[in-house]
């Protein structure tokens, strides 16, 4: 944790986060790429990870790997201790009242949503029931509900996109009337829109609906408190917050999780198995069938420690100012040649995902030439095809910012976009 308690940590206390010092902790960002520094602007798809995370995972495998919750020998006890410590850290990070029972490890947010749709949804939704989603959702919070709706003949209602790329809320009460669930993103992976969740949660609860929040793009970037938000379920994923792939978290209120049937069946999730039946395990293991991703949980714990050492307030402040800077630079440099699909940073907080159309060029062509300048951006539909249709585009180019990005990265992006314009002139 040297750089966290050293340069980056010290900088955070005085004048905000120092992205150059942070970068020194990230081997991939420090390695030469194509003769220069990699400009990584795709953290909304997946972040990079600091060596503290890699070392924590290596240390686990090198010193104490064994299966968890089984062996009585020392390294198995230690593996179990580290795995469960990760659960508590994840719970503390989001303000869960009872981390020991309310934090379920999943593969990612997609699995977290599928767990809720399959287990809570099948136990609580009947033909004709309505659920409310939004048209800015990632496919992860759309397709599981489309599948359940087909199976159970559910009515799907959608909050639409409104002014300044924020949700249109004028018909919120009408949509929530009689609905059983509100499934909503906390921050759009395409638009950068940050949803003001508290009033929505209050309205949903007034209407008798439970709330599932997709926080994949929020937990990595800002402080999150599930108690303050009032959400019933919330999902986030490790690899977008400096941790490894293959580890995600579902937070659920204990009463809800307790009443839900298991999701996947197998080892670990049972208390007793007979030839004619089984008794499920207690929370949270009831929802964790099979050997879990142990090293990944330990890596996630290291990522959480890293982010907490810097401070998520500092991360948010850094991203807010860098996002405003980047949007301003792009608009100044390219004027009408660029269309940014996302809220104006001057009108309120937004996330660091900046989606845009550049001239009349296809995003794949833009991204391909940016790659030749070592600038990594995403080009495509960002797993949000209904939103693409709403925006009237097939795809967008997206640059997304995180704690290791700085104004130099924005300059590199602007310069590389000039090269794109020249190349296709």
């Amino acid at each position: 944790m040297a750089a966290v308690s050293g340069a980056a940590g010290t900088g955070a206390a005085v004048s905000g986060l120092d992205p150059v010092a942070v970068r020194r902790d990230f081997p991939l960002l420090m390695a030469p790429h194509a003769g220069g520094r990699l400009v990584y602007l795709d953290s909304a798809a997946s972040s990079q990870r600091p060596r503290q995370v890699l070392e924590a995972m290596d240390d686990y495998y090198e010193t104490t790997h064994a299966n968890v919750h089984r062996g009585v020998y020392a390294i198995a006890e230690e593996a179990t201790r580290r795995f469960e410590a990760a659960r508590h850290a994840a719970g503390r990070l989001i303000g869960a009242a009872r981390p020991a029972t309310e934090i379920v490890f999943t593969k990612n947010v997609t699995e977290a949503v599928n767990l809720v749709a399959y287990s809570w949804g099948r136990a609580n939704l009947a033909p004709g029931d309505a659920i409310v989603l939004t048209e800015i959702e990632h496919h992860a919070n759309l397709v599981p509900w489309l599948m359940l709706a087909e199976e159970r003949q559910l009515e799907l209602r959608y909050l639409r996109l409104g002014e300044d790329y924020r949700l249109e809320l004028s018909n919120l009460d009408e949509l929530l009337d009689g609905a059983k669930l509100l499934g909503i993103t906390c921050a759009s992976n395409v638009l950068g829109t940050v949803v003001d969740l508290e009033p929505l949660v209050a309205a949903a609860h007034d209407a008798g609906a439970v709330v599932l929040a997709d926080a994949a793009q929020l937990v990595p970037h800002r402080p999150v408190d599930v108690a303050a938000l009032g959400v019933d379920f919330l999902g986030f994923t490790g690899h977008k917050m400096l941790g490894p792939t293959g580890i995600g978290v579902l937070y659920g209120r204990e009463e809800l999780l307790e009443a839900m049937p298991p999701f996947l069946g197998g080892g670990e999730m049972i208390r007793d198995v007979r030839l004619d039946g089984f008794t499920p395990n207690e929370l949270p293991w009831k929802f964790e069938a099979g050997t879990p991703p142990i090293a990944e949980a330990i890596g996630l714990h290291a990522a959480i420690r890293y982010l907490e050492a810097i401070g998520l307030e500092a991360v948010a402040e850094h991203e807010d100012s860098l996002t405003a800077h980047a949007v301003g630079r792009l608009q100044d440099a390219f004027g009408e040649d660029i269309t940014i699909f996302g809220p104006d940073p001057a009108l309120g907080r937004r996330g660091g995902a900046i989606s845009f159309a550049f001239k009349d060029l296809h995003p794949h062509d833009v991204a391909q030439v940016l790659d030749s300048r070592r600038v990594c951006v995403r080009a495509g539909h960002h797993c949000a095809k209904p939103l693409m249709r709403r925006l009237g585009v097939q795809a967008t180019t997206r640059a997304s910012l995180y704690l290791y990005n700085d104004e130099d990265d924005v300059s590199e992006l602007v310069g590389a976009l000039r090269a794109v314009a020249d190349f296709f002139a």
């Binding site: 390695a31 030469p32 790429h33 194509a34 003769g35 220069g36 060029l361 296809h362 995003p363 794949h364 062509d365 391909q368 030439v369 790659d371 030749s372 070592r374 080009a379 495509g380 539909h381 693409m388 097939q394 795809a395 190349f423 296709f424």
Partner: protein
């Protein structure tokens, strides 16, 4: 790693040869044909949303006219333009030979990707499509016989873009199958 930059730039110039950019900026045979008598098929690339519509008029075994509409990236659009120029006025047999040779040129990486980028094998659109699949198995590469189409061979260094280049050709296979089957040719779909 320091030499990678030059390789990247060379590859980029390989990908976007001048003739490709020319077809992208000034696409040939843009437009539509009345169906019937012409045949029509649509191709989609689900990864990037590219779509291409190919119209072909076939008389006495000759592709007498070709028109292209749709939208997409420079590679898919220029490949469609170059295809239209290459097959227009050619006998169907020659169009099929070009199709096989082009697919063969593009299949170097398709095979190494375990079929992920395979276009023809995943084409669908009725019985005609099955016929096209069998008829259009990649032939040994004969790059010289491809003329200016050979300019697209740099695409194989960018596996994700292979689908962009083969999209219009897979769609052409659908149109030719439709024409041979004698159908009205309005509903075929290819997935690039």
């Amino acid at each position: 790693m320091s030499g990678l930059g030059d390789v990247y730039r060379e590859n980029l110039e390989d990908l976007y040869r001048e003739i490709i950019l020319d077809h992208y900026r000034s696409p040939r045979n843009r437009g539509e044909l009345a169906t019937p008598p012409a045949h029509r098929a649509e191709g989609f690339n689900p990864l990037c949303g590219d779509e291409v519509v190919v119209y072909a008029a076939v008389e006495d075994g000759v592709v007498t006219d070709v028109r292209i509409s749709g939208q997409g990236c420079s590679i898919s659009q220029s490949s469609a333009s170059m295809m239209s120029a290459a097959v227009k006025g050619q006998p169907v047999a020659e169009a099929r030979r070009l199709l096989r040779a082009f697919k063969s040129m593009m299949s170097i990486h398709e095979s190494s990707l375990g079929g992920e980028a395979g276009g023809v094998s995943r084409a669908r659109g009725g019985e005609g499509a099955v016929e096209a699949d069998e008829a259009d198995e990649p032939a040994p590469v004969d790059v010289e016989s491809l003329g200016e189409l050979a300019a697209l061979q740099g695409v194989v260094k960018f596996p994700v873009r292979i689908k962009c280049a083969t999209l219009s050709w897979n769609t052409l296979a659908q149109v030719l199958a439709e024409a041979e089957a004698g159908g009205a040719g309005t509903g075929a779909e290819a997935v690039g």
